[in-house]
Amino acid sequence: MIKVENLTKKFGENEVLSNISTEIKKGEVVSIIGPSGSGKSTFLRCINLLEKPTEGTILVDEENLTDPKTNILKVREKIGMVFQHFHLFPHLNVLDNLTYAPMKVKHLSKDQAEEKARGLLAKVGLTEKETAYPSSLSGGQKQRVAIARALAMEPDLMLFDEPTSALDPEMVKEVLDVMKDLAHSGMTMAVVTHEMGFAREVADRVLFLDHGVLVEEGEPNSFFTAPKTNRAADFLEKIL
């Protein structure tokens, strides 16, 4: 459902992504790993055009994102994104965070949107937090709300940008559990993560980026036990 061809991104003179080509199929869970500064997040952010690619094409369901004629808002409706720092709307309570975009963008009625939102809150285990404001939630709770907020738009694809990196260790599991459930329900997911356990256990495929280059990609078991490249081997040695 996503096809990336020769994607290059430069910030000024600095080339953060070099000539990346890959594909994410429907229902697939892909983990993107690599050292910090390797361009993982930038790669993810190019997929919903939060960063504009310098060169190359990105096709989402045959629609070319880099074509100026493409309605990027329409494409983004189908792509949910979860950020490292949650970015919940602080002036709205939890329920309103979930209903805002479905009502404003998809023009659902308030009742429809709230029914959907309550269902999602139950799914992420936060039913009792419906009227709470984000500032009163723990990091793990915030991230679960953020996932529910993205799901409320009924996306075909979910992007996760280091969803557990800003969390206290004891809260990582609750977020990963929600993500695992989501993966098992057949959602297509691209996850930038430092959680190698998650990558290994849940992902169908691992992309390893270093210095903006897609160095290696493969099925997680073989990648983690027998990486094909020295760079991947070095990286795994340092973190495992």
Partner: protein, 219 residues
Amino acid sequence: MNLDFSQIVPYIPFMLEGIWVTLQFVFVAIIFGFILGTVLALFKIGSIRPLRWFADAYTSIFRGTPLILQLMIIYFAIPQLTGYDIQPFLSAVLAFGLNSSAYVSEIIRAGIQAVDKGQTEAAQALGVPYRQMMIDVILPQALKNILPALMNEFITLTKESALVSTISYLDLMRRAQVVGADLYRNFEPLLFVGLLYWLMVMGLTILGKLVERRLRLSD
């Protein structure tokens, strides 16, 4: 000491009426200045170059010249130029509104830019159009942060409104002068309207605190 407040008693209704006259144009000028200031702020942070240039030039002119000069130009010079006999009320609203919008636009611009960039990204990622995002996500958060600065601007405007006494608009200040001239005593009427100005500003301050408390509900 030769103070005799009993002398101004017959003039008190006349002076109190000035509160309404002053508030009337201050209120309209604040609203006008706030709306225009918001538009200018959006020009300043927007991507359309001529609008950005216009908003910057506008701010530079209205902040760079005295308010009383702007008032005089609008009241005295415009009729000379166009033959249109502009009323003091309209002149006052225009001068104060246009002037205030220059300051308000800077306050709002700073407020918008202080909102976490992640908020914009979160809204974009959900497919929310720019206009909608500004209205529902960014401006409410910006307003909460800049409320004290905005209150400052509104208080300043309320007090500076006394300048309209120079274009023979019968506001609070002008009425004190009229009473002073009538009685050959200035201290009592001036002190009296001074108290009224202070009370008006106190009212505004309390209103600001109430709004602020409401906005802080989400903290």
